[in-house]
């Protein structure tokens, strides 16, 4: 679904929640007249279960789209080996091969990206523009952060990930 220039993706979790509660509501309204009398606000509330995640996804993706050019201008291209705890807060650009992809179904994908010097986790807090798969060669723009906010190994909070073709 596209809103303006932003491609909005609703996660499978949000859809599953909507479906489960729709079934609950249908069963409850068939068996109880009291529930049927409340449908006037229960049905809109049910649709909010889809509208709210969609709106959140739209907002986060439009925010990411706005800050991506800033990262493209400011980030330094580094080898993964050079990324360390002292670089927390720095915008960086890396190039590498996607070795693993996690949590894509939650719209919070996490990639393990490797170059010849090492590998690093790349976390994204919204869905990416492109469908990135294992073995894709990508460039990643993002900020170095701790894995668990204040502690843990350095990872990249990804703002932009896109496939590149290497000659």
């Amino acid at each position: 679904m596209k809103i303006g220039n932003v491609e909005v993706k609703v996660s499978i979790v949000a859809i599953a929640v909507f479906v489960i509660f729709t079934i609950f509501l249908i069963v409850a309204s068939l068996s109880s007249p009291e529930v049927r009398s409340q449908l006037i606000w229960l049905v809109p509330a049910l649709f909010m279960l889809l509208v709210i995640p969609t709106a959140l996804n739209y907002m986060s993706r439009s925010q990411y789209a706005n800050i991506a050019p800033v990262y493209e201008a400011e980030a330094k291209t580094v080898r993964i080996k050079l990324i360390n705890e002292s670089m927390v807060g720095k915008p960086v650009r890396i190039e590498g091969v996607v070795e693993r992809v996690y949590y894509q179904w939650m719209n919070r994908p996490q990639y393990l990206v490797a170059d010849r010097s090492g590998s690093i986790s790349v976390k994204m807090f919204t869905s990416p523009d492109e469908d990135v798969k294992v073995n894709d060669i990508v460039e990643v723009y993002g900020q170095v952060i701790h894995r668990y906010m204040i502690t843990g190994d350095p990872v990249i909070n990804c703002v932009l990930i896109r496939k590149i073709k290497k000659s």
Partner: protein, 280 residues
């Protein structure tokens, strides 16, 4: 010998005073709350607001303990500000007791957090922590070659290593250019001078996100004994280029560690990065 004994005694006294200060945080804060509680149940003719001083003093002690650590905890540092609210906001004696108990518990939790998440105090961290192998072995191996290096050059090496680890490549390039120039002006053309120049070249390229040049600086074959990693004869230029940088950075780390003792705290903070450089 006597000087080292004195220094040992001073360090012990300093550690002891820090332990007392750590103990003072829960003692003062809970002590204040206890005093307020006694005033509440005995109706003692004393202004209960005097008990708030316990929390105020405990906050200042906690802030001091946060201040003397190399990693600053902003939450602990700002507790005196919050303690001011105790004085500024008028309240009754019962609310004051509840608030002080909660505040004392919060300060104690912050103290535990400070101790376990923000490490030991600056001086203790420097004394207690040792470098791990292979970095430790490399520094011991190269310590003999660092005897001629001035503390000034050692300090420059430390600053450049830290700036490079932080990703401040522009600054690292400028600093290493200056350091290499100073060594050359002094008539020294050592392995360290070459290391400064190599770091300058790499940092300048990284700062502009440029790729590897066709021709790049390397160490001379005479420097082989001082290098951490062997530069293979493989025709692959990328490997040689990046191994040369690793060797240059590790040489700066060693020079800094061996000649600029006051910078060791900063070098220890970058140890994980230095250890990473040993990987192929």
């Amino acid at each position: 010998m006597a000087a080292s004994d004195n220094s040992g005694r001073e360090k012990q006294a300093e550690e002891m005073s820090h332990r007392w200060l750590e103990l003072a945080v829960p003692l003062l804060s809970f002590g204040g709350a206890l005093l307020a509680f006694i005033i509440l149940i005995t109706n003692f003719p004393l202004d209960f607001r005097i008990s708030i001083l316990g929390c105020v003093l405990a906050s200042w002690v906690l802030a001091y303990l946060a201040w003397i650590r190399p990693r600053k905890d902003i939450v602990a540092l700002t507790t005196p500000l919050y303690s001011f609210i105790f004085i500024a906001v008028p309240t009754d004696v019962f609310s004051s007791v509840v608030l002080e108990v909660l505040y004392a518990a919060s300060l104690t939790i912050l103290l535990v957090r400070l101790k376990y998440q923000f490490g030991t105090t600056a001086s203790a961290a420097y004394r207690l922590k040792e470098l791990a192998a292979p970095l430790k072995t490399y520094i011991a191996r190269t310590s003999g070659s660092c005897t001629g290096i001035s503390p000034g050059s050692g300090h420059s090496a430390a600053v450049i290593f830290v700036r490079f680890a932080e990703g401040n490549y522009g600054e690292a390039a400028r600093e290493s250019g200056t350091a290499a120039g100073q060594l050359e002006d002094a008539g020294t053309s050592s392995c360290l001078t070459r290391a400064f120049k190599i770091v300058r070249e790499h940092a300048a390229l990284l700062d502009k996100s440029l790729p590897r040049p066709q021709v790049f600086l390397t160490f001379s074959p005479d420097d082989a004994d001082l290098l951490a990693k062997p530069v293979s004869d493989s025709p692959e230029k990328d490997h040689e280029f990046y191994t040369t940088l690793d060797n240059a950075l590790l040489l700066l780390f060693s020079a800094a560690w061996n000649t600029s003792e006051k910078d060791r705290i900063h070098l220890l903070a970058c140890e994980a990065f230095a250890q990473k450089l040993f990987m192929q």
